[in-house]
């Protein structure tokens, strides 16, 4: 069992960390989320049919739960913070990254799952535990929010 678990960890942890990072915007917190997901998986190994999907679901839901805690609630601001002048590519990336952090958590989760993980609407709904209609509306609102925050960026078609 442990060999299978370790093999899955080596294969999936780095990718999950990337997803977690896009959700939370912090690499350290992303690692925490990955560890939490794998730790929970270890104790449920025999009961989990699809570890990969299970890990993704636990990771995303753990993060959404985390954002609901009062002391963790993210503070949005009306304007992007001032940043030093950097090369255009880097600046573009930072603008999108900052904007993504300002998108409400569940909308952000929809965007990450749909456009980074390439999940279908159905699979995204399964991960988030909501309806497909809810995923569609949250995704649409998330995209609108991003376009409003970074209207001139090429990353947003």
């Amino acid at each position: 069992v442990e060999q299978e678990f370790r093999a899955l960890y080596v294969a999936r942890a780095p990718a999950l960390r990337r997803t977690a990072y896009l959700l939370c915007g912090d690499w350290h917190q992303a690692e925490d989320l990955v560890q939490v997901a794998f730790t929970k998986l270890y104790g449920n190994w025999r009961r989990v049919d699809s570890p990969d999907a299970w890990l993704r679901q636990v990771l995303v839901r753990s993060w959404v739960d985390e954002t609901r805690r009062p002391w963790r609630r993210e503070r949005t601001t009306s304007a992007l913070p001032d940043r030093p002048v950097v090369e255009e590519l880097h600046e573009d990336r930072e603008a999108v990254r900052s904007a993504l952090r300002r998108v409400p958590p569940r909308q952000r989760a929809c965007l990450v799952l749909r456009y980074f993980e390439d999940l279908s609407v159905t699979d995204t709904a399964r991960v988030l535990g909501c309806t497909e209609g809810n995923v569609k509306s949250q995704t649409s609102r998330g995209l609108d929010a991003l376009r409003a925050l970074v209207p001139d960026r090429e990353a947003l078609c």
Binding site: V1, Q3, R6, F38, Y115
Partner: protein
């Protein structure tokens, strides 16, 4: 057409240092806690006890002193065979404290953790028991994830078991020596001796901040190297392996 490309946002991804060992250990502890709670065992028996063991003369005449116990159930720990074997294979002048014995998986031990001090600084000793076949790699020295750039030597111990000794990893500020005895069926025992202390894990269900989690996994270096020599760890591993068979 994909209206959003997020892949560029991870272009500055830092190196990945997390290891499956950490998740396995945390998973074992989490599972142990859940089992203990389900069985009605006090949580304190899982999350740790302050048990100070002082050797009077070593071996069978060792005198055990229980101090600052957090739970009545900790009184049973001095009789725990794992703790006894660790005591017997640790120099008499060294102290052992903050012993945590994970609940058994059936008749099998699952994990043990304690802090050892030879007078130069407390440091953690972690023991993992893998009674189920297929739990351990047969040739971990061939696995870069296990070796991590350290020295790694495999030695056959008779026909049915193999000794693995991984030296101190060249990266990171916590130095640890890893000794494993793996059976031909993939079961066995593992010992991890560090040169650091780590914050006690919070009770199950406690929410920790990323900073707290980082502090737990990073530890506080208390000495230049683990207190045990490799030979001492090998002898301890052999004794524990005999006990767990």
């Amino acid at each position: 057409m994909n209206p959003l490309d997020l892949h560029d946002l991870i272009a500055d991804e830092p190196p990945y240092f997390l290891l499956p060992d950490d998740a396995v250990r945390a998973g074992r502890r989490r599972r142990s806690r859940r089992r203990a709670l389900a069985a009605g065992t006090t949580a304190a028996a899982v999350t740790g006890t302050a048990l100070a063991l002082t050797a009077g003369g070593g071996g069978p005449t060792s005198q055990l002193q229980v101090g600052a116990s957090q739970s009545p159930s900790t009184a049973a720990l001095p009789g725990d065979p794992i703790t006894q074997v660790v005591r017997q294979h640790t120099p008499a002048s060294w102290s052992i404290d903050e012993v945590t014995v994970d609940p058994k998986d059936g008749n099998d031990y699952t994990g043990w953790q304690g802090y050892v001090d030879d007078g130069q600084g407390r440091a953690r000793l972690y023991l993992g028991f893998s009674p189920h076949p297929g739990s351990l790699q047969q040739h971990p020295c061939g696995d870069p994830e296990f070796v991590q750039g350290a020295s790694c030597v495999e030695t056959q111990l008779g026909a049915d078991r193999r000794l693995v000794v991984r030296g101190v990893r060249p990266v990171g500020h916590v130095k640890s020596v890893f000794v494993v005895i793996v059976h031909t069926d993939g079961g066995g025992v593992s010992l991890d001796a560090d040169n650091a202390t780590f914050p006690a894990e919070p009770p199950a269900g406690t929410v920790v901040t990323p900073a707290e989690k980082l502090a737990y996994s990073t530890g506080t270096v208390t000495r230049p190297a683990p207190p045990y020599t490799t030979d001492q760890l090998v002898e301890l591993a052999k004794a524990l392996d005999e006990l767990s068979v």
